[in-house]
Structure formats: structure tokens, C-alpha cells
Symmetry: C2
Subunit: 227 residues, 2 copies
DNA sequence: GTGCAATCGAACCACTCGGTTCGAAAAGGT
DNA sequence: ACCTTTTCGAACCGAGTGGTTCGATTGCAC
């Protein structure tokens, strides 16, 4: 039954014909339009009439695809979270050198969290965090853990290789993340910085972060001939 | 004329009789009630009917004191900002020892930014930052500058005393602030941490921050007899 | 061309919103 | 007790809210 339905959907994808509420193109169209309104004015000030206009579909169609405003919002935030998480997965793939890894992670992460889309998604989620604890918990919990886990694994590897000496890996990972991104993220979130920081500014701050981090955790090379 | 009015107000303060909309007790009552609603559900979801009930005054009285919802909100956020700024003014007064100063600043600041009241004020302001850029700009700009300036002055003093070697004071100040508070603040803001961190947890993280900071910027004592 | 179904969009619903009006009640001064 | 003024609170206003209904239009398959 479900296999039959799945096959039917795959076939229909070529044909452009779906059951009501099942057209992925129409669904994305709604999500895209709604996202623009939610990210612009937040959940409460986003009206379904505004979303109808922005998405370019009928309001009754929106209600065929989503049960209510809350469900539409949740779908958008989940989509945002997945995109954000996805883009951070491979920041440290295949890297073995400690400074190259730290630099690449720091810059990549800073670019990600200061991007306009990320900031507005965060801001929108923060605004309703106390009223929608489950949704916000899911959004921030997963994202936070994933980002730090990647760095923690990398630090563990470096400790095993003898390039770093770290007693508390989770604390060190937190410290490095905050050194690289903390101020940037806050300035963007608060609206003090109207545009994302430049890449060169990010690189400058990440370089300083690395320098401090290595001063605290780096293992000095004891053999001068290896320099 | 204005002197006469001012004297009249001072006298009346003892007597309990004010011109309409000029009673400071009634004004605070409105602000307190409105604050509770705004901080709980945000600007948009806070209705003037809710605020009327919470403040325990008539809606028409609220409109005698404040022109509209926006003005009421702005007055509350300004009051919050001033309280926040005030409480951070003297964190480093009279301290000369570098590690004592760093510890005291780190712990004091972390306790302040993770307090429930601070977090909800920030969250509420962030939610409307893109719609009320002037208000949010004022709120965050002043607060951010003041907090960091205090630390920068302290670092400058320590550099002059020879206990720290810092090329870039503003960057170092940012780094230390983020090391001490960055993760705590975000976890609270995102609603992941449901309660503020314990003082012992803050002290643990601040101690780690100091250790890292001194590893990077501290001037080692070259005279053993001074230990 | 025909038939079927998804989508459209105008109209509708009960309710809430921010803000206004104004007579009654309350408070304070003399 | 009387007078004045502040505050109260019920009723009101036009606009907007999320969500529903349903005949007309459109799009796709055959």
C-alpha cells in the first residue's frame, strides 16, 4: 500500500499531477513565501493574509497543505535547521593539521552563523522560545550539539596525536567556538551590525582566537630541528 | 512658570495629588504590569487588554500616561537598559590585581547576563530588532559599549603595570568576555538552559577562561623571589 | 474534447486588536 | 460636606485575525 503510493508519487513527479496537498513544488512555494514573511516580522506579526500574498497561492490552498499557522511555522523552522546543520557537517573532513583545522572550522562556522538567513532564523526562533519550548528546544538543541561535536572529535584526535594538551575537551571546544564567533553573532543578532562581517575581519578574529587557543593548549615543539 | 510647576510637583509628592498622567507611583504600576506581559509573550502577543489586567489600572488611564503601545514598550525597554547598565558600572572599582579583576569581572558579568530578567529583556528586544531598529540600536549599542569599555580600561592599566602584554586591547576584551559568558548567554537565550547556571559552574568556566587568557597574554614572573 | 480534481478567490465567521468616549466612582484638598 | 480632578470601566469603533465554505477556474490525463 505505502510502496504503491510511493511509486505513484515518483511516477507523478514526472507528470506534474498530485493529490491535493501533495505537490512538492507547491509546498515549497508556500514555504518559501511564508519564510520570507516570518523571517521579516516574526511569528505573531506575520498574518496568513500576508503569507497568502507573498506565496502567491490561495489561502485555502495553504490550509490544504498545512493544518494551521503553527504547523506552517514549524515546518519552516525545521527546514531552516536542517539546512544549517547540513552545511556544517563537513567543515573538518579530511583535515589532520591542527592549525589548518582550527582555522577552517573557525572561519567556516563564523561565516555560517553571521549569514543574514541564519541570523533571522535564530532571531525568529528566539522570539517564540518561551511560548514554543518544544519547537525551540528541537531547533537549538540539535544544532548546538552537532556543531560542537564535530570540533570535539577533532580536538580529541589532536590530543591523541600529541599536538594539543586538553584536560576538558568540551570546555575547550566551547571556548574556541566563542572566541571565533561570539561577538560577531551577538552583534548581528542584536541588529547592531547591519551587515555580516567581512571575510577578512572574520579571518583576523579567528587568527587571534587560534593564537590564544594554541598558547593555552598547544604542545610546543621541543625539537628545534623540526621547525 | 516651569520652576513653579516643578516646585508644585515636589510639594505634591508628599501630598499624593498629581495632574493627570503625572503620578510616579501610578506610572511605575503601569510599567511593572506591562513589563511582565511584554517579557512573557513579547511585544506583538502582549495585548493592551492583558496589560490593563496585569497592571490593575484602567485602559483609559494607561492612555493618559502613554500615547500608545509603542511608547509604553519603549519606556519599559529604556528602564531595563538603564538598570542593566547601572549594575555593571562598578565591577572593577578599586581592583588592581590582574587575576582578581578578571575573575571578578567574569563572574559578575556572567551572573548578570544570565539572570532571568536580563535574558527575557534581551529576547524581547531581539524579537523586534528588525522592526524597531532605533530602539534596539539604542538598547544594545549603549549596553555593549559600556560593558566592554570597563574591561578595556582595566586591561590598559594592566598592560601599563607590566602584568599583561596585549597588542590589541579591544580584541582581547572581546575574547575574554566571550570566554566567560558566551555559551551561558546563548543557552539561556535559546531556551536550552531553563534556569541560570549555578555560581559554581560560572566560576569553573571563568577560571578556565582566565587560565587560557593568562596563557596568551600574561607576563610570566621572571623573578622567582616575587612569588 | 471531455472528465476529474487541484487550486483559486471572494465571501464569510466569531473573535481580537489598539485606541476612543464619557458618565460614574473614587480620591484628595479645603 | 463640598468641590475639583483623577481614575475607572463599560461600551464602542474600524480594522484585522486565523480559519472555513464553496462555486468557478484551471490544469492534467485520457
Amino acid at each position: 500500500m505505502s510502496d504503491e503510493r510511493s511509486a505513484s508519487c515518483d511516477t507523478a513527479a514526472q507528470a506534474g499531477r498530485f493529490a491535493a496537498g501533495a505537490d512538492p513544488v507547491k509546498r515549497e512555494q508556500i514555504l518559501d513565501g511564508a519564510k520570507r514573511v516570518f523571517m521579516s516580522v516574526g511569528f505573531d506579526a506575520a498574518s496568513m493574509n500576508d503569507i497568502t500574498r507573498e506565496a502567491g497561492v490561495s489561502k485555502s490552498t495553504i490550509y490544504v497543505y498545512f493544518a494551521n499557522k503553527d504547523e506552517l511555522f514549524a515546518a519552516i523552522m525545521e527546514r531552516e535547521r536542517m539546512q544549517l546543520t547540513q552545511s556544517l557537517q563537513d567543515l573538518l573532513s579530511g583535515i589532520e593539521d591542527v592549525e589548518e583545522g582550527l582555522f577552517r572550522y573557525g572561519v567556516g562556522f563564523a561565516l555560517q552563523v553571521t549569514a543574514v538567513g541564519t541570523v533571522s532564523a535564530m532571531r525568529t526562533m528566539i522570539a517564540v522560545a518561551s511560548r514554543m519550548p518544544q519547537l525551540s528546544g528541537q531547533f537549538f538543541q540539535q544544532e548546538t550539539l552537532n556543531v560542537r561535536t564535530v570540533l570535539e572529535h577533532f580536538l580529541e584526535q589532536q590530543v591523541a596525536r600529541g599536538t594539543l594538551r586538553v584536560d576538558d575537551i568540551p570546555l575547550a571546544a566551547r571556548q574556541y567556538i566563542e572566541l571565533c564567533t561570539g561577538t560577531f553573532f551577538k552583534l548581528c543578532l542584536f541588529g547592531v551590525a547591519r551587515t555580516p562581517p567581512s571575510t577578512s575581519e572574520i579571518e583576523r578574529v579567528v587568527t587571534g582566537a587560534m593564537k590564544l587557543f594554541m598558547a593555552g593548549y598547544g604542545v610546543k615543539k621541543s625539537d628545534p630541528s623540526m621547525q
